[in-house]
């Protein structure tokens, strides 16, 4: 662990030169694949399936960017990163973008010199407890032992929550989600805390999910989003607008099913035309083909499709849209206009 961080630090040293001088877009095109940092395995967001093919909500975004830039949604090298290694991997240029349930915070954005290009999931930290414990609120957790996946904002929120409510607790920081789960299931901790979406995903992988309850309190704001390095705004724009294209597509009812038809010839709706490249020069402004957004949307569907397919209510994860509904439906998902 120590050595990996050290090598990571060395890599920062070794590769930073290449990163600062060359444009990421050119690197990706020359390489022919997109290096996308994802989590080491969180069902629904990023995990390899039985055939070793990465699937998930975050993975969908990587594939969309790859489709927009390279025209091939499979031209992605998925690089699993832990909570600890993700920033070093991005800073060093090992990955071109990070899509890994990463909370957008001030210090990460400003001090660590990263650029969060948007929010693809509005989350908040929650608690999960065994049903037999009879706990119905996080405010009843005074004195509890809490399992935490280390290397996240979770530890800080947890400390703040217990401090502001004058409660004590004993933290058990665990390196990976899998080990934390095992500790929680063995009863070595009373509650398990992480982002509510992560809790739902974790609970879905339990043998009897019904034996565990998610407590109603959400103790923090966790806007999760993809991020890139500072210093290459062109590349940041590509990732930002790929995400916005997926969101706009849902708003305009452009789906992977009807996109071929809509892109074949200009439609009555000018915004759809601009989005799909049948009108205007938006693609060229990004340095991409005119049909970049069309390829991105066709890769895995629009934002809503990605959500429903990976973490929606019909999946084992079973997350409701909630805050992540389109702004037209009372949620926070909102894309600036394509014009």
């Amino acid at each position: 662990m120590k050595t990996s961080v050290f090598f990571g630090a060395l890599t920062v040293a070794g590769m930073a030169a290449g990163m600062a001088s060359a444009a990421t877009l050119d690197d990706v095109k020359a390489r022919g694949t997109l290096n996308c940092g994802v989590s080491t395995g969180l069902v629904g967001f990023a995990s390899p399936d039985a055939n070793g093919v990465w699937t998930g909500f975050d993975v969908g975004l990587c594939r969309a960017v790859a489709a927009a830039v390279l025209g091939d949604s499979d031209a992605v090298e998925f690089i699993p990163t832990t909570g600890k290694t993700r920033f070093t991997a991005l800073a060093s240029g090992e990955i071109d973008m990070l899509a890994r349930n990463t909370t957008w915070t001030f210090s990460r954005d400003v001090d660590l010199k990263f650029e969060f290009v948007g929010t693809n999931y509005y989350d908040g930290q929650g608690f999960m407890a065994p049903r037999e414990l009879g706990v119905s609120s996080a405010l009843e957790l005074d004195g509890a032992t809490v399992c935490i996946q280390t290397g996240t904002t979770t530890e800080l929120n947890l400390a703040d929550f217990f401090r502001s409510n004058n409660m004590s607790y004993e933290p058990v920081p665990i390196e990976t989600n899998a080990e934390a789960q095992q500790q929680y299931l063995a009863g070595a901790c009373d509650v398990f805390t992480t982002d509510a979406s992560g809790l739902a995903a974790t609970r879905a992988s339990f043998e009897v999910p019904g034996d565990h309850v998610l407590l109603p309190e959400i103790v923090s704001k966790e806007p999760l989003g993809p991020l890139v390095r500072h210093g290459d705004s062109d590349w940041g724009d590509i990732v930002r607008w790929t995400l916005n294209a997926l969101i706009t597509a849902e708003e305009l009812d452009v789906t992977s099913a009807n996109i071929e038809e809509l892109a074949a010839s200009p439609t009555d709706n000018p915004e759809i035309n601009r989005l799909l490249g049948t009108e205007g020069e938006l693609g060229a402004m990004l340095g991409l083909d005119a049909d970049w957004a069309m390829k991105a949307i066709a890769a895995g569907g629009n934002y809503g499709e990605l959500f429903e397919k990976n973490i929606g209510e019909n999946t084992p994860i079973g997350l409701a849209r909630g805050l992540n509904a389109q702004w037209t439906e009372g949620g926070l998902i909102y894309s600036p206009p394509f014009r």
Binding site: K2, G8, L10, A16, F87, A91, T150, L156, A186
Partner: protein
Amino acid sequence: MSTITDPPEGSFRLSMLINDTRYRSMTFQAIAAIVLALSFWYLGNNLIQNLRQAGLNISYSFLGSPAGYDINQSLIEYDSQSSHSRAAIVGILNTLLVAFMACITATVFGVLAGVLRLSKNWLVSKLMAVYVEIFRNIPVLIWIIIIFTIMTAVMPAPRAFRGDDPAASMLFNAFAVTNRGIYIPAPVWGPGSIVVVLTFIASIVGIFFFRRYATKMLFDTGRLLPTFWPSVGLFFIPTILMHFIMGQPVSLDYPVLGGFNFSGGLQLGAPLIALWFALSIYTGAFIAENVRAGIQAVSKGQSEAAGALGLRPGRIMSLVVLPQALRVIIPPLISQYLNITKNSSLAIAVGYADVTATLGGITLNQTGRAIECVLLLMLFYLTISLTISAVMNVYNNSVKLKER
């Protein structure tokens, strides 16, 4: 003989740096030193330049800001508002604690297993051989996780102690063994307990002097005083007497089940126990081999001679063989102690808050100051390793063969 002439003097030519064996080695060493210095300079310069290009800098100002996270085991006062540097110190103390405890138990395990492996009893020696081979051939990280998993899976959770007919119960109503750790009664120091503590310290000093006196008697007069039972008596009796004379100032705080966990008493956390035990038993296997090698290095004639003088086997081992074996045992023992200290950085696997977990883990991650944190970690481990080496070398000098 007379045909050998003196080497030509005075005429130093540049080619002699390569061709002349007198200078060649120095030439190569100088070249190597220059290359090494240049490569370090290149790496350091590269780092600084690239950091500057990325808009980053090397700064340790984060050490003063509040850490914001809690630590489950802390030997000093600490809460989430303490600074990052204090969190690092908590981690350092936790590292030193587990390393110290593991060094002691590993030595005990190692000496026992090493001596028993040479036992004439077939079963005992084979059992020890199995222990050594199994434990030293499986990576220590795996042992840490195995032991921790067994602890959490086999031991009862605190909630098993609850109810009218609990699945688990406390030992003597004082000790609770749970999968979160072992809870034991904690002493409460009432008024006057300082006298009891002083008595205890005095009796330890007394034992030390008694043993010195016994050795002196043995050397001067040849009379062998019994030492074991008097030592045990000195250890317990004065302190217990003083405790009752002072009206029992030291009382015990028993752990009680309340809320989610046991409260009161002392808690030995499961991560600490798992890490401590795994490091001791793993390194103990290596130390056992060192001990065996050391004992076998003492020639058989020594123990035969001691036997001929009428010494019993136990005394042959402790008075004749082990003191000579120590000369062989101690140098590799130093590196085992260093291994324990460095291997304790695997603590995060079981959630033990050592310095790699606090400074090199959460702090690094929250502040993003990877290079600074890793440099500090390297400095810490280097310092502590060199200190252990220095102390053990002093000890080694005191037991090594005195050449007069």
